[in-house]
């Protein structure tokens, strides 16, 4: 059976990155 | 951090209650109160084999059976779907032309619209009483039955899906065909 590939981790990181981006936006709004 | 730990604790508790607990309760109620519909409203032949589901259309092409609505997935109940064609699409026209010739519909005797239009999931088990009557002559001839008898069977099976809120009456194609087969077996 096929298992998780490299791309599986890449997209997981992409998701995490978006949440990090949202956190940074929150900080930016706080300083605005 | 506290937020991460709190999140994980919430994950565990919500999984236990909202997934495991909730699904089990509903499953239990289904098994106790409505076990036949809970399993999929399956219809069995006398020998115990599954013939189909009361809720799911199956294909009929022989003249002696009533034919259901068209299915964009060829009645595949493991991968249902609609055509998703725009109602202005020429693909729909081509498909309808083929259906019109199969039914032998003419301008003086137009085809009921649902017999040309595919259903949303491709598994619509019903047709209108009009559509059944439209096919009654063919079915009666193929089975050597008087037309009036076939029409009576249709009338006995018809129902209004929404009571007084739906003026059009429907029939379940599979149940209709099963009734005809039972009649034939009894004779």
């Amino acid at each position: 059976m096929e298992g998780p590939s490299t791309m599986t981790f890449v997209y997981l990181l992409l998701g995490i990155a978006i949440f990090v981006l949202l956190y940074l936006m929150t900080e930016a709004v706080d300083r605005a | 951090m506290d937020s991460l730990l709190g999140s994980l604790r919430l994950v565990v508790v919500t999984m236990l209650i909202c997934v495991a607990g909730y699904a089990t309760v509903i499953w239990g109620i289904g098994q106790i109160l409505t076990s036949s519909t809970a399993q999929g409203s399956l219809i069995m032949a006398p020998d115990g084999k599954i013939v189909g589901s009361r809720l799911i259309a199956q294909n009929f092409t022989e003249a002696k059976y009533f034919w259901p609505r068209p299915s964009a997935v060829d009645y595949n109940a493991a991968a249902a779907g609609g055509s998703n064609k725009s109602p202005t699409s020429t693909d729909l026209t081509k498909r309808a032309e083929e259906i019109v010739s199969r039914y032998g519909a003419k301008a003086a005797n137009p085809l009921p619209p649902e017999l040309a239009a595919a259903s949303g999931a491709g598994l619509d088990p019903h047709i209108s009483v009009n559509a059944a009557m439209y096919q009654a002559k063919r079915v009666a001839e193929a089975r050597g039955l008087p037309l009036s008898q076939v029409e009576t069977i249709i009338r006995e099976s018809e129902f209004a899906p929404g009571g007084f809120l739906t003026p059009d009456r429907l029939v379940n194609v599979l149940e209709l065909n099963l009734a005809l087969d039972r009649l034939a077996a009894a004779q």
């Binding site: 096929e2 298992g3 590939s5 599986t8 997209y11 997981l12 998701g15 949440f19 949202l22 936006m25 929150t26 709004v29 706080d30 | 506290d2 937020s3 730990l5 709190g6 604790r9 994950v11 919500t14 209650i17 909202c18 997934v19 909730y22 309760v25 509903i26 109620i29 289904g30 519909t37 809970a38 399993q39 999929g40 599954i50 189909g52 589901s53 799911i56 199956q58 009645y75 779907g81 609609g82 998703n84 109602p87 202005t88 693909d91 729909l92 026209t93 309808a96 019109v100 519909a105 301008a107 085809l111 619209p113 649902e114 040309a116 239009a117 259903s119 949303g120 619509d124 899906p161 087969d181």
Partner: protein
């Protein structure tokens, strides 16, 4: 046909309005318990115990958002992991295999953001465990996130010291609101004939001797929370057109009620927490007006028969039946389409890709406006953004200080509101533009001409509005679609929650003024009109050109003789 449609709409919408009022009261009690004693307080203690130390903090707007982001990130990762490993995990009787990585990303983003956009077909790709523990689980907690955010905003506007605690709020919403309602609805669904089994597909031999594999599963439980939480993701691909998700006219009616019930109740809950029920009623009336107008157009345009059959000997007396199911009655499809896109639900009772062109425009408008009812919690939050803008414009027009519920609305707040509203437009129009001029979009269309454009426009509208419905002919299980809509769904979910919370934080830092004779009222017809006009202008100006390229063009090309 039209009389029955009107009767049906009155019954469904009227019943739900009647149910939403007491539910709104209950939600206020559940989400914002006043006394430190009594029933609700017992629950608060339990929730604090479950959540641990973090629940003892009273959070300001920023801490509340960070808590929400952390929890939602965990939601994303947990569901992602379950789907990525589904082939190794139990509860997989039909032996579903691996899901492609980009699809996992899209689905996890989709269900985390309460969108439930599905670039897959449930019965084809998902194991029962994935459906229950990843997707249905997210349907609970993502809906709870929205309700929690609204409660927090309402508390801020009511003048409290802080916004509460996200981890307590999300439990309140999950266990006290969503779970009891889901239990009731799921039991009714089971009684209505929906399957609820963990057995794999049934193998049938049809009367004509063909094999038919009939997929089934734990459908009743899934469908209940799918509708109640404005989730919308179906157990099966064709969603609520599938006879197992929606077997009868009555399950159809119950599902439609479930779609709009909590979004309506959220407006009352908001009104109760800020202590301005009259204002909530005015807002509710504006939302309802928008819903009913679109409903009228949808039903009206749906009576035109299938254009493709025009030259053939086919009776044309029942409207356009392509993509529709007979047991729901002729106009249920368009009615459902309007309700599901008034809210951010996105489930369907008919194939939207096969709706008459101007009928298909009505769901799009609902998603563009994104607040005529809107998603659970977030619908009212989006309306709050429009209120801020409307109040500001009104104040500027007559030279008075703009004010909302005693809080001065100044340029900082309005800037945040405008950014949030424009982000929606940017995602939709920008995304559609890129895909319309590249093979990313043009290679995936199911229909030619303006209808193909509509398919792409609809997809980005659905992602940005966190709706989840689609013109399902679009071949959207590709890497570009999965990645782009996945990103849009997450950004468009949280930006319009972060910015309103920031607005409330900003307002709370000011002194609250008492209302005087000079205050612009928010409880009268003038305000209602102002709000309606603001919504329509912002929505119309942004999206009207796109509408002409798609649905309107198709209507004039094909339907007008």
């Amino acid at each position: 046909m039209v009389t029955y449609a009107i009767l049906f709409v009155i019954i469904i919408v009227g019943t739900t309005i009647a149910l939403s009022w007491p539910l709104g009261n209950y939600m206020k009690w559940a989400m914002d318990p006043e006394s430190a004693e009594g029933g609700a307080a017992r629950f608060t203690r339990a929730f604090r115990w479950i959540g641990g130390r973090v629940t003892r903090v009273q959070q300001d707007w920023k801490r509340y958002i960070v808590a929400m982001l952390i929890f939602n990130l965990v939601m994303f990762i947990v569901s992602y992991a379950i789907m990525a490993l589904q082939q190794y995990l139990p509860l997989n009787p039909d032996a579903r295999g691996a899901i492609s990585a980009d699809l996992i990303f899209n689905t996890a983003s989709s269900f985390t953001s309460n969108t439930n956009l599905q670039h897959y077909s449930g019965e084809v790709s998902m194991s029962y465990l994935s459906q229950l523990a990843a997707l249905m689980w997210l349907q609970f907690v993502s809906a709870a996130t929205g309700i929690a955010a609204l409660a927090a905003i309402a508390r801020g506007l009511a003048g409290r010291k802080d916004l509460g605690n996200f981890f307590v709020d999300v439990q309140r919403a999950t266990f006290l609101v969503l779970l009891p309602l889901a239990l009731v609805v799921a039991i009714l669904m089971v009684l209505g004939g929906l399957p609820m089994t963990l057995q794999g597909a049934a193998h049938a031999m049809t009367l004509e001797g063909a094999e038919q594999i009939i997929a089934r599963g734990p459908v009743a439980a899934f469908v209940a929370i799918k509708q109640l939480g404005t989730n919308g993701g179906g157990f099966f691909g064709p969603n609520s057109t599938h006879p197992f998700e929606n077997p009868t006219f009555w399950t159809n009616a119950l599902e439609m009620i479930s779609i709009i019930l909590i979004p309506m109740a959220c407006v009352w809950m908001f009104g109760r927490i800020v202590g301005r029920t009259r204002h909530a009623a005015v807002v509710f009336a504006v939302m309802l007006a928008l819903v009913l107008i679109r409903m009228a157009f949808a039903v009206g345009f749906a009576t035109a028969p299938t254009e493709a059959f025009d030259q053939l000997p086919i009776a044309q007396n029942a409207g356009n039946l392509e993509g529709k199911e007979l047991r729901f009655g002729a106009t249920s499809g368009p009615t459902w389409a309007v309700l599901t896109t008034s809210t951010s639900n996105g489930s369907v009772g008919a194939m939207h890709d096969s709706l008459n062109p101007l009928v298909g425009l009505m769901p799009m408008i609902g998603m563009w406006l994104n607040e005529d009812l809107g998603g659970v919690g977030v619908g009212m939050i989006n309306m709050f953004l429009y209120i801020v803008v409307a109040v500001f414009i009104a104040g500027m027009m007559i030279g008075r200080t703009p004010e909302y519920l005693g809080w001065r609305v100044e340029s900082r707040e309005v800037k945040f509101a405008i950014v949030a509203l424009l982000a929606h437009g940017l995602f939709i129009l920008g995304g559609t533009a890129i895909f319309a001029v590249t093979p990313w979009g043009t290679d995936t269309l199911n229909n030619v001409g303006p209808h193909g454009f509509s398919e792409m426009l609809y997809e980005f509208s659905s992602a940005s509005a966190n709706n989840g419905s689609g013109f399902e002919g679009l071949g959207d299980n590709t890497v570009p679609w999965n990645v782009s809509t996945g990103i849009v769904m997450l950004l468009a979910r949280f930006i319009p929650i972060i910015l309103p919370l920031a607005i409330v934080g900003s307002l709370m830092a000011k002194r609250r003024t008492a209302e005087s004779a000079g205050t612009l009222g928010v409880e009268d017809g003038t305000f209602a009109g102002m709000l309606l006009v603001t919504i329509v202008i912002v929505g119309a100006l942004t999206f009207f050109p796109a509408a002409t390229l798609g649905p309107v063009a198709e209507h004039f090309m094909y339907m007008v003789k």
